[in-house]
């Protein structure tokens, strides 16, 4: 490979989109052309040719103005370029003058740098603060309302006082739950890029979680069935407390949404490939809410299957969104904090595992989480 071929290959392979633009005259619109577009630029700007009219690749007025500034004033310029479509991206555009070529053409280099992530993080934080304060305001408003009533005309009404104190207790509990969830979510997020240490026996752990959830299940008349639990151990890499939280949140949800007297099935399988672990047993619409990067790991999968009302397809993508609850769930016996699945998702991300939901209205729901197993990957079971 000659030096110039190598340069060409390097430019083409650069992950950031790059364009080289020429222009002859400020008034000549069609004369502004791109004479080099690397693979990333062709993908970003949806062009097929390696050269062509600049306007056929970019028509954002700010970017065009930046290009003109670099071409004809030989000044560095910057701009923001946003793509439209389902996954809109936001890129910082930098234009540098490359001087004047032999034929008198002005040359400029245009580079794009993806800043979508940064902007999204900013936005999520703003949304999160707004949501969290909104969620706390509701129980707080009800608390202060009842306090006012108790200090006022209900002061000596024993029956009303007992009733109000009961409601106040519920609201205070709700606030406490919300704050606990918020704290644990922010801690999990902080550690999301720190791989968990330690190994955990899932069989033992799930057994404990089921026992812990038994009182709630009994209260709702829901039967918890574990099957088929092979005797022995299933060791996965992970942090015990967090995995317990995952199992508890999934069990809580399943119990909460099960009709009275129905069963919740808990299945544990080990030695699976990622494909087999993420597969759903039934032919329900399924969606992966978290998935590990492809790797040759073997996984242990835990499925929690309920016979509740199920979730409509259009609501599936929003399930792990913070404070999202399917319509009509904001109040009543089934009210939760709206953070449970967000917590599960973040823990699974940290554990390099996955979270899959399969559900349809009236068909119940299956939530699957899978963890990479401890020890060397061996005996991978292929999904058919």
């Amino acid at each position: 490979m000659s030096a110039s071929q190598l340069y060409a290959a390097v430019v083409n392979a650069l992950p950031d989109p790059i364009l080289v633009v020429v222009g002859f005259d400020r008034d000549d619109l069609t004369g502004r052309r791109y004479i080099l577009a690397n693979a990333a630029a062709r993908e970003l700007l949806r062009i097929t040719a390696e050269e062509g009219m600049l306007l056929s690749a970019v028509r954002d007025p700010d970017v065009l103005a930046a290009v003109d500034k670099a071409l004809f004033d030989e000044l560095d310029a910057e701009s923001i370029y946003e793509t439209t479509g389902a996954q809109s991206r936001s890129l910082r555009v930098r234009v540098r003058s490359l001087g004047i070529g032999q034929d008198g053409a002005h040359l400029a280099l245009v580079t794009f740098h993806d800043e979508t992530e940064v902007r999204r993080v900013e936005r999520t934080r703003v949304d999160f603060l707004a949501n969290a304060s909104h969620e706390l305001r509701t129980p707080l408003a009800s608390l202060s309302g009842f306090i006012e009533t108790l200090r006022g005309h209900a002061r000596n009404d024993v029956a009303a006082r007992d009733k109000f104190l009961g409601i106040m207790q519920t609201q205070a509990d709700r606030m406490a739950r919300l704050i606990a969830d918020l704290t644990s979510l922010s801690r999990i997020e902080l550690d999301e890029h720190v791989p968990p240490r330690g190994t955990v026996d899932l069989v033992l752990l799930v057994g404990e979680a089921v026992e812990a959830a038994a009182p709630l299940a009994a209260q709702r008349g829901v039967k918890l069935e574990c099957r088929p639990f092979a005797p022995g151990t299933v060791h996965v890499r992970g942090e015990r407390d967090q995995i317990i939280q995952v199992v508890q949140n999934l069990l809580d949800n399943a119990i909460k949404y099960s009709p009275d007297g129905a069963g919740v099935r808990i299945e544990l399988q080990s030695g699976l490939s990622e494909l087999a672990a993420a597969a759903s047993p039934e032919n329900l619409p399924r969606l992966s809410l978290a998935a590990p990067d492809p790797s040759p790991e073997t996984y242990a999968a835990l499925r929690v299957i309920d016979l509740g009302p199920g979730i409509a397809r259009q609501n599936l993508p929003r399930l792990s969104e913070r404070f999202y609850r399917v319509d009509g769930q904001k109040s009543g016996a089934r009210s939760g904090t709206g953070l449970g699945l967000a917590i599960v998702k973040h823990i699974m991300n940290r554990h390099r595992g996955g979270l899959v939901v399969a559900s349809a209205e009236g068909e119940g729901s299956t939530f699957t989480v899978y963890f990479p197993m401890a020890g060397a990957p061996e005996g991978v079971v292929k999904a058919s």
């Binding site: 000549d28 306007l55 056929s56 028509r59 439209t84 479509g85 809109s88």
Partner: protein, 230 residues
């Protein structure tokens, strides 16, 4: 396509199309900024959109003047005539889109004065994204003379209508629930209507592209869901 004997004739036609594309870019930016001004409650951005509308008007006049000049001097026929006429019509539609964007920005200035209506602005944002996507696809189709992409835009007109209808209902619920929101909601309704009309202009441009490339008018009726009477 045959090369024209006089090179500058071809150049003139090409630069006419190029100017339309550049005007398209301006229009996209105006629409995007107008929607952002509503969503982010950004007063400066709204004023900027209102101020920039002149540039679109000037661009339209310029394209019209150049087209008329080209038709008068070169007397184009067939393909070339259609390209010239299409450029003028596209510019026309884009100018209308610009006016609608300016109107959205003016309403944003009023909406900003009342309390935020977050769920509604979310819906406006979604609809804005959809409409902008269509405008952008149709302009891609125009700049690459891509009939298929133009037809894709043309056949998906009902999606915008559905968004508009659901926003309409959402707004009614708000206004019934709290009469204090009526001013802001009424303006939001026009914002949504303007977005819907920008979507219609995108469909018009798709039809113009079809005419420019094939020489035929589109005859089949557009898919349309009209739920005004429900």
């Amino acid at each position: 396509m045959n090369e024209h004997i006089i090179k500058s004739y071809e150049d003139e036609l090409n630069s006419l199309a190029a100017e339309c594309v550049r005007m398209g870019g301006l229009t996209e930016a105006q629409v995007a900024d107008a929607v952002t001004a509503v969503v982010k409650r950004n007063q400066d951005l709204a004023s900027a959109v209102v101020g920039r509308d002149d540039r679109l008007d000037a661009a339209e006049r310029d394209i019209e003047r150049k087209t008329i000049r080209l038709i008068a001097l070169r007397q184009p026929v067939a393909d070339d005539l259609r390209r010239a006429v299409a450029a003028m019509k596209v510019a026309n539609n884009l100018e209308r889109c610009g006016d609608l964007a300016k109107n959205i920005a003016k309403r944003a200035l009023v909406i900003i004065e009342s309390d935020p209506l977050t769920p509604l602005t979310r819906s406006i944002e979604r609809m804005g994204k959809l409409v902008l996507g269509r405008l952008s696809t149709v302009l891609d189709a125009y700049s690459h003379s891509d009939l298929e992409r133009a037809l894709a835009v043309w056949s998906q007109d009902d999606e915008v209508d559905e968004h508009y209808n659901s926003l309409f209902r959402e707004l009614l619920t708000y206004m019934i629930g709290d009469p204090r929101t009526i001013t802001a909601c009424a303006h939001m309704l026009f914002v949504a209507k303007n977005l819907e009309r920008i979507g219609d202009h995108a469909t018009n441009i798709a039809e113009i592209i079809h005419y420019q490339i094939t020489g035929d008018e589109m005859v089949a009726g557009r898919p349309k869901t009209d739920e005004l009477r429900d």
